[in-house]
């Protein structure tokens, strides 16, 4: 693991934080959109296992992580201040697939990993820009990093469950409306029910669907085989080395916890 200094750990919304850590440039060069790193708060036995986070953005020598407090690990992380040191390992996992003519669908904190994809697709060398971003949250307060997302000149379609901003309802309803007219490849990240719904919509409109999955993850290196994603094929996949992005049609949702 490498040591990294915190340059920012700022509250973006209730329970949502933006963490920036300084990373050596030679390590930074290796990061691709869709990959993740695992972070350990130094020397702590509790929480014991480093937590995985997708890369939200990279600027200069700083990796930004957008995270939501969901448990003990993220709670401890949110208490750290600028100047403190933590340990990380990464990049881990496989990058996003290189897609063209596609849209992004993000639910809640699922938006986190797409910032880096937008940054990396500006020059269209390896990654291409999405044609549209569908981004849903519970309320307008939970919609974060909007000004950053809008910087890339790609239409951002917003939904909130309570209608406090954008379309009132769930993000997948907007996708379905769009796909009725023009189905396209979709890359989605968000809560499991959303991913399941995106998979159904993708199937219905014959749109290639990629899902960024989540599960309990321990090692992140393929060592423990704990982060299993059940596939319809004979063999299970392991999120940390085979993912985190999977083709929706391959996932066996019945056995997904």
């Amino acid at each position: 693991m490498y040591e990294a200094k915190i340059v920012i750990n700022k509250k973006e919304a209730e329970n949502i934080y933006l963490l920036g850590i300084e990373i050596p440039k030679n390590v930074l060069k290796k990061f691709q959109p869709g990959q993740f790193l695992k972070i350990k708060i130094n020397q702590r036995m509790d929480p014991l296992i480093p937590r995985p986070f997708t890369v939200h953005a990279i600027e200069e020598n700083v990796v930004y992580i957008l995270y939501q407090i969901v448990g003990k690990g993220t709670k401890s992380l949110s208490k750290l201040r600028k100047g403190e040191i933590l340990e990380f390992l990464g990049p881990l996992g496989k990058p996003f697939p290189k897609l063209k003519n596609y849209v992004i669908c993000a639910g809640g904190i699922g938006i986190a990993g797409f910032g880096f994809l937008l940054q990396k697709s500006v020059n269209k060398k390896i990654f291409y820009s999405p044609e549209m971003i569908f981004y849903g949250a519970k309320t307008k307060e939970e919609l974060v990093r909007l000004s950053f997302l809008k910087r890339f000149g790609i239409p951002v379609k917003i939904s909130t469950d309570d209608g406090s901003k954008g379309y009132k309802g769930i993000v997948t309803d907007m996708i379905e409306e769009e796909f009725k007219k023009d189905p396209r490849t979709v890359l989605a990240c968000g809560p499991k029910p959303m991913l399941k719904r995106v998979a159904e919509i993708g199937k219905k409109y014959k749109a290639k669907t990629y899902l960024v999955m989540e599960t309990f993850l321990a090692c992140g290196t393929g060592f423990c085989m704990g982060c299993v994603i059940p596939l319809k094929r004979k063999k299970h996949a392991h999120l940390c080395i085979d993912g985190p992005t999977f083709l929706a049609e391959e996932i066996d949702f019945e056995f997904l916890s």
Binding site: M1, K40, M45, D46, P47, L48, I49, P50, K72, E87, L89, T215, F216, L217, A218, C219, T221, G222, F223, C224, M225, G226, C227, V228, I229, P230, K234, K235, H236, I241, F255, L256, S257
Partner: protein, 277 residues
């Protein structure tokens, strides 16, 4: 030694270590549990973190002995340190078949007796001293090289350790994970049953090592919650002749190097204070 199930099937080890580092710091590689037939393992979730510990229920996911020998063992051997294959069987005959298959292919075997014995209605081998006697005796007849038995920390542990000695094991590994349970959801109740590892179990296993090493003459390998050189030293001082690092590998893949470095600096300190060094 790297403990079974904590470094995959060896495919990624060289991403984190150079061959030189492996040779200089790792005494032996104990493979993931290998069974006769391939096993898909358990559905998710397979892991759950507890205070200072980790519960896992992987379900011995492995490609089976044939594919293991063909596609994984050559790479593991290429790391240049002794390879000990951890065997998983649900009846004595499976262990024997595995031992036969590995003759001349591995440097040692580690028998996992924390498995359910299907012929005895799923009773764990580790609770059944009679079956463990038969198991160790019969494997020994086939396998002449280094033979370890990885004890379960529950059941008649001391008796089983003595049986391993009596029937010819070279060493006992003390110990496997502790049977544990995590509540995942309250209503309806959803639980994860698995084995607890990590620093949380260190004092418990250390006690077993201390006691067992006094009872038997064969060597004891300590295994349980080692994350620092100090932990390793404590195991050695309490009677272990070697130690395995497990959960620490999941926290940091380079943990074994860090632990060895710390241990070396601690033992250097001990020697300088002792007249006999």
């Amino acid at each position: 030694m790297l403990a079974s199930g904590t470094w995959g099937l060896g495919e990624n080890l060289d991403k984190f270590f150079t061959l030189k580092e492996i040779k200089e710091n790792i005494g032996a590689l104990v493979t993931k549990g290998i069974s006769v037939n391939p096993r898909k393992g358990n559905p998710p979730p397979r892991t759950f973190e507890t205070p200072c510990g980790l519960i896992n229920s992987i379900g011995i996911e492995n490609p089976g002995i044939k594919e293991f020998k063909r596609n994984y063992l050559p790479k593991i051997k290429s790391y240049g340190v002794p390879v000990i294959v951890n065997l998983y069987g649900e009846e004595v005959e499976e262990f024997l078949e595995l031992s036969q298959e590995l003759k001349g292919e591995a440097d040692g075997l580690e028998l996992n007796i924390s498995c359910p014995n299907v012929k005895k209605g799923g009773l764990f081998f580790s609770y059944d001293s009679k079956t463990v006697s038969k198991l160790v005796k019969k494997v020994r007849e086939i396998w002449k090289d280094f033979l370890a038995v990885k004890l379960s920390p529950v059941g008649p542990v001391y008796e089983i350790a003595e049986i391993c000695e009596k029937y010819g094991a070279d060493t006992v590994v003390v110990a496997n994970t502790y049977p544990a349970l995590a509540v995942l959801e309250f209503k309806p109740l959803k639980v994860l049953q698995g084995g607890l590892s990590g620093p949380a179990i260190k004092p418990l296993t250390l006690r077993l090592v201390y006691d067992i090493s006094k009872k038997i003459k064969i060597s004891v390998i300590g295994c349980g919650g080692i994350v620092s050189g100090k932990d390793a030293l404590e195991y050695l001082l309490c009677g272990a002749k070697a130690f395995q690092v497990g959960t620490a590998n999941l926290i940091d893949p380079r943990a074994p190097i860090k632990i060895i470095k710390e241990l070396r600096s601690l033992t250097d300190g001990l020697c300088s204070k002792s007249a006999s060094c």
